[in-house]
Symmetry: C2
């Protein structure tokens, strides 16, 4: 398939690498910052950087829009793109409706994974959430995700929004709690590595038996003495303290309501 | 070494199995519920269940107290145990001072890991936090942790309390967020397995590059539109909504303050 990109960040780069590796042609790329497009093309051979969206290679079958949600809206409302080419965004939270005013075949190709710069992604394990009202495009998107080894799942915008919300809890928020744990240790001149085995086992156990069944700890046991001790330790950190209280309350609530 | 146990739950069982496997003698066990002590002895061969703490084998060198914090205090204040035998608790949050009124050699042997019933523990990867004012006992505790392959680290009660607090954030609270993610998906008839690859990569990345560096997401980016959309989705779940707001605020705060 012939593909071009709008956006040259992590998602665009990892997708382009995967597409090219499996025989697709990544023809051209536009970025707000031209130098970023040039840098992108150093990784994606035979891809041309362009200075305007209208200069993207006209033989492209699909243009992947890999930019922030706000920019997707701007691009869709202001830029003219030949109505033959399919437009696909890669956002977890943005509805397909963002394309409702334009005549192109439109779709969503949302890889449910966190990407890191310069660390290769193994798509064979990534669920890609697909959506399109255009049957032919949906077929193409399924084939594309299959070709890079990802498991494509068709879900509508509403379900995708819920999945994205759950992903924020499961990924961004859990990661933040790990940052807090790290900070608590650092403040006491202790090494975060002490917690590595516990963190590994926590996540693996949650995936093995399910997180609800895996829950342990003072909040789950209703051990008010330890909870009070922890709140006392946190008296100089009011925000972290509030978070501790809120999470403890939520675990108790979860336990009671099931 | 000759060891007895007070308490027959997860921690006692996993420690006893590891001790016995590496050539130590687990002589006797007391549990509030005698049947639990009997059940424990089905797993730990040649160990005798007893009905009273005073009946624990008098040749034991160390008694491991593996019960809730509140019960440790009760046992220490009310039970008579020959002052020759060393007493060791396995709690993350309880100070060594709990033993201050008794003449026995006393210590702490806290395995920083989450244990699951019937799932064997590989101690070669578990940090065990050790404490004792008695040099000879501390030496024995180091040897014990080494013998089961664990890495023993000597820390005082204050540091151990901070480590335990950080562990609650890194394990209990992260696990709870995974439960919320699972519930959000279930409520929308979606399978939690969709999130497995994301969860795996999230914690592996946090351990690889550090959680602060790994942080992504709408809160980190300051994407107020997505945050508003998520809060709207959560309007019928006020507790989870508050938690979302609190965690988002905390990520923003972390970003600003560093």
């Amino acid at each position: 398939m012939k593909i071009s990109f709008i956006g040259s960040g992590n998602v665009a780069t990892h997708l382009a690498l995967a597409f090219q590796k499996t025989g697709h042609s990544v023809l051209s790329v536009y970025s707000k910052n031209y130098q970023h497009a040039v840098r992108f093309c150093k990784k994606i051979k035979r891809c041309c950087p362009v200075r305007k969206i209208s200069e993207l290679n006209p033989t492209s079958e699909i243009i992947f829009i890999c930019v922030t949600d706000r920019e997707v809206e701007k691009i869709v409302s202001r830029e003219f793109i030949s109505k033959k080419v399919a437009l696909v965004h890669t956002s977890g939270s943005m509805s397909l409706d963002v394309f409702s005013e334009i005549p192109n075949p439109c779709g969503v190709f949302y890889p449910l994974q966190t990407f890191t710069k310069n660390i290769p992604v193994d798509f064979s394990n990534v669920p890609v959430l697909l959506e399109s009202k255009n049957r032919e495009l949906l077929k193409k998107l399924k084939a594309l995700s299959k070709s890079i080894g990802a498991s494509g799942t068709v879900v509508n915008s509403q379900k995708r929004a819920w999945i994205h919300l759950s992903a924020v809890f499961a990924s961004n928020f859990t990661n933040h709690l790990l940052s807090i744990a790290e900070k608590i240790l650092k403040n006491n001149k202790l090494n975060f590595k002490l917690l590595h085995p516990l963190i590994m086992e926590t996540f693996q156990k949650a995936l093995r038996v399910g997180p609800e069944k895996a829950q342990t700890g003072p909040a789950k046991r209703g051990d008010s003495k330890i909870i009070k001790q922890h709140l006392k330790l946190l008296k100089t950190e009011p925000r972290v303290r509030l978070l501790y209280e809120r999470l403890t309350g939520s675990i108790v609530d979860f336990k009671d309501k099931g």
